[in-house]
Symmetry: C2
Subunit: 205 residues, 2 copies
């Protein structure tokens, strides 16, 4: 049913340490703070030394995007297959809720992983599809899955960027979206929880 997470190729020890430091720096100080010199400082070395372990800043970002994608995938898979789901909550609502929770817990990482083009060529093959799979499982239909994912991303990114008016009750908005997609899933070709086998390729996160 739900496929296995593709194994990410693991980095040499020191490179992994650099990525870990980069992640701390990113999440604690924000995107602009993710600088080769500051990253070096966090590690007690100078910026050029980082190049002994990684080919450049882009590689650091790719590694972080991979991590973000993988963790989001984990969270979403957990949500769809939850064995003791609170009775009454459909898979749609659970995936949406998990998406929001995960994104808000790592705002900078989420932004990094989801804005701009994905460096697909440098990513672990299959990871993107695997991370998007839960949407298909929850929606039962590829098109609806895509629509739901788009809604979720829009909600999250606009919330992170503080684009909503101050008094907004975002919980209600999420619920309204979930309801709309649940209705559509009912009216559409497939029903709530996944049918059986996926047919088409799926999108990421």
């Amino acid at each position: 049913m739900t496929s296995a997470r593709p194994e990410p190729r693991q980095l040499p020890r020191r490179a992994a340490e650099i990525i870990a430091a980069a992640r701390v720096l990113l999440e604690s100080e924000g995107r602009d703070a993710l600088t080769m010199r500051r990253l070096g400082a966090a590690l007690g070395i100078r910026a050029p030394s980082i190049y002994k372990h990684l080919p450049g800043k882009h590689a650091v970002e790719v590694a972080l995007i991979e991590a973000g994608l993988a963790e989001m995938g984990e969270a979403l898979h957990r949500a769809v297959t939850d064995p003791q789901a609170p009775a009454g909550t459909g898979a749609v609502a659970r995936v949406l809720a998990a998406y929001r929770t995960e994104a808000l817990a790592r705002p900078s990482l989420y932004r990094l992983a989801t804005s701009g083009q994905l460096p697909r060529a440098e990513l672990t093959p299959g990871l993107e599809d695997w991370a998007g799979e839960p949407w298909l499982l929850a929606a039962g239909d590829p098109v609806l899955a895509q629509a739901m994912w788009s809604f979720a991303h829009g909600m999250v990114i606009l919330e992170l960027d503080q684009r909503y008016p101050d008094g907004s009750d975002l919980d209600r908005t999420w619920r309204a979206g979930a309801e709309a997609f649940n209705l559509a899933a009912g009216a559409g070709p497939a029903r709530d929880i996944a049918a059986k086998g996926p047919s088409g390729r799926e999108e990421d996160m």
Copy 2:
């Protein structure tokens, strides 16, 4: 019914020329090309001379965001109040379609205007609300309006960033979203076309 567009404070002649050049540069060469030196070059002057007319790059961006917001607002207002709307297309579908069309026509401007935090303090007062008004008019309900807008933004930004799988039929996905929200609008407290008066404050674009 639909309120008037707030008058943007207009810039001195030369400053307006700079903004115009910035816009051409942004849309033709992409966000990274929007550089003070390149902007100067496009105008036949040096970068520091720009500071005689505008306080800095941030001001250039703010002016561009204003323009993006205003034009999107125009397009959406046109869509909701369309007197000769193709019979059968609801306001919801028309606003969604207009949003997508407008965004895809000015991808870099859209991205600039919608990613990151809005510099609300520097914007023409009321512009943001005015630009978001059509969503409320189409959805008939503030919460649903917010959800629709989030869906639309998610769809557009993911399309611009080429995050969807290659073969995706995005027209279908938009239709699926429109359908879902139409169903919800029917089931919800208000019906398709706007009731009468707006009640709460609205979000942007």
